[in-house]
């Protein structure tokens, strides 16, 4: 509870299995990349502090399982997210096609207050590979059609654009947070004898 200026953002990473969600997170947080593939079961967590507009922001990154059989915690994980990162693999057209359902799934599960303006970011990963199958234009078009989702092409392996993408993620999520004012309707005055404070309350073990 320290410091009013501090912020914490819950960031969810979604996408098909093996598009590189965990690798992106690792590259961003630990500056490391491994070619070995290990599927995520359930979820992993990472924390990273960044500075956005002179504010220290802690990013609480929730890296989820792409494989359906490991997604045991859907709703629970999406709940209360500040930003959602959709990842696809530029060499795997199916992973791009599935962005639609990942986005829908998120909006249904997380049911954010203003789904139209919920901050998503799309990352086309593995641009370091030669056999690219999804063109930049195609991806950009899709993003535009979804209320102008910011789009970045990344390589978790080479560290291309990763830092910048996450910086944008933090910035967009933070803007939304700033808009939300603290709700200031003070609770009603207590009415004696009302339901809430009935004298006969059995819980009232007396002092």
């Amino acid at each position: 509870m320290s410091g009013r200026k501090k912020s914490l953002l819950k960031v969810i990473i979604l996408g098909d299995s093996s598009v590189g969600k965990t690798s992106l997170m690792n590259q961003y947080v630990n500056k490391r990349f491994s070619n070995q593939y290990k599927a995520t079961i359930g979820a992993d967590f990472c924390t990273k502090e960044v500075v956005v507009n002179d504010r220290v922001v802690t990013m609480q990154i929730w890296d989820t399982a792409g494989q359906e059989r490991f997604q045991s915690l859907g709703v629970a994980f999406y709940r209360g997210a500040d930003c959602c990162v959709l990842v696809y693999d530029v060499t795997a057209p199916n992973s791009f096609k599935n962005l639609d359902s990942w986005r829908d799934e998120f909006l249904i599960q997380a049911s954010p207050r203003d789904p139209e303006h919920f901050p998503f970011v799309v990352l086309g990963n593995k641009v370091d590979l030669d056999n690219r199958q999804v063109s930049t234009r195609r991806a950009q078009q899709w993003c535009q059609s979804k209320n102008d989702i910011p789009y970045y092409e990344t390589s978790a392996k080479e560290g291309i654009n990763v830092e910048m993408a996450f910086q944008v993620i933090a910035k967009n999520a933070l803007e939304l947070e700033a808009e939300a004012e603290v709700i200031n309707d003070f609770p009603d005055q207590i009415t004696l004898g009302s339901q809430n404070n009935r004298p006969g309350n059995p819980d009232n073990c007396q002092c």
């Binding site: 965990t22 609480q60 059989r69």
Partner: protein, 531 residues
Amino acid sequence: MEVEQTSMRSDTNSTSEYLDAEGDPDAIEPETSLYQEADFEQEAEQQNHSIISELRDGLDATRDTSALSPEPGQHTKGLAASAESLALSTSTSAKTEDSISGLEEEYDYQHDSLWRGQKKHIFILSEAGKPIFSLHGNEDKLATLFGVIQALVSFVQLGQDAITSIHAAGIKFAFMQRSSLILVAATRSNMSVQQLQLQLGDVYNQILSILTYSHMTKIFEKRKNFDLRRLLSGSERLFYNLLANDSSSAKVSNNIFTFLTNSILVFPLATAIRSQITSAIQSNCSKIKNLVFAVLIANNKLIALVRMKKYSIHPADLRMIFNLVECSESFKSSENWSPICLPKFDMNGYLHAHVSYLANDCQACLLLLSVDRDAFFTLAEAKAKITEKLRKNHCLEAINEELKQPFNAKLYQQVVGIPELRHFLYKPKSTAQLLCPTLRHPYKSLVELERLEAIYCDLLHRIHNGSRPLKLIYEVKEREVVLAWATGTYELYAVFEPVVDKATVIKYVDKLIKWIEKEYDVYFIRNHATF
């Protein structure tokens, strides 16, 4: 391409085979991990631990043994191993070697032996897994751990169940879910899960006391991602003070015992003085509409309570008041008008409290609690009259005298003939008040207090055990003889010198009970007056 291939293979594998692969080559066996911290630290940096994989490993490993759940009837079986993954899977917390200049240095608590070695931890988080409070360490830097806690809670919730506790490596974790909050206590002490939950209940009440239930629920209904710290900032001291009630805070104090027995302490006063004080409050407040409670306290003990007819005050609510007064120095310098929610009285609204000390020369604090938010001047006037009256009939002097002379000096003097009685707790069944002498030798030192605390925790737990409550416990321990006795009218917990035999203990207990009965009205308030 290699990535693609491995991924396809992994897709076709069955879950269990996959898990084996996960454990190899660099995964850590949950059973051994805690004891290999030096190695673990290095490895941890190279890999992401998946909490659920650890959890499943744990489940598999314990399925056959099933001996890891020490509290029968609780659905925590097999989760023991996951406690270790609590420590494990958070290891990915960022070490920003690349940290942006200007940031304070990133600190990794999970590898800090001081942080890990704390006797007690308390964590509060939102349902979304966002940190709200950590007793030790900056909660922002523990964001990963909070995520793991949320995962554990949700995982069990998914099976239409609720996680109550985890027991692992000598640490108890107690969980509590209330409205949109998750509260967790972890301890190495002797406190039972129920006792930890009582503590979490107090913490939850403290949040309600600041925000009210309705306000907090409305906020989370509108925004599940709300950072509750925004509304609680500035109130941190209340939480720290509330939780600094046992030896884990390295303070020698008595507060733990009121909390453990869900009671409060009464300021000892002669019956005549107390009734004079009560009537001074009554006569000056009886005509004030909407005044619900008048509470006079000194030194964390209740001097007098006057209440509106039909309403009573819950000990948990009184503890909120004590806590507020104890950690608000500013009350000493001026009159205050402060909203406070007493959750057991009405969790959805604020009472408005006129708070002030009786006089510069009398450090007793008077709280006049009204439902009327415009009552300040009426109450201020009443307070002035009360002080005047108490000065006139020498009650201020009587209070001061008691404040100067710690009451247990007197108490022990009067309980003469029992020098072997080291300490005791006495709680009548009819009220939530506790008689508890301040600590004396040998429990003045922290180590000894810890032992005393452990003894009482254990006795209280066994007397109040839901499935098998005991009525009488007599135990000869290495360094003391202990007794717990629950009758129809009181509970007594007493600690004697180790040399005393059973017959003598019985004789002494008899003597003590007789003495308490005789002095009852000095140390307890039978009935609280009404306006």
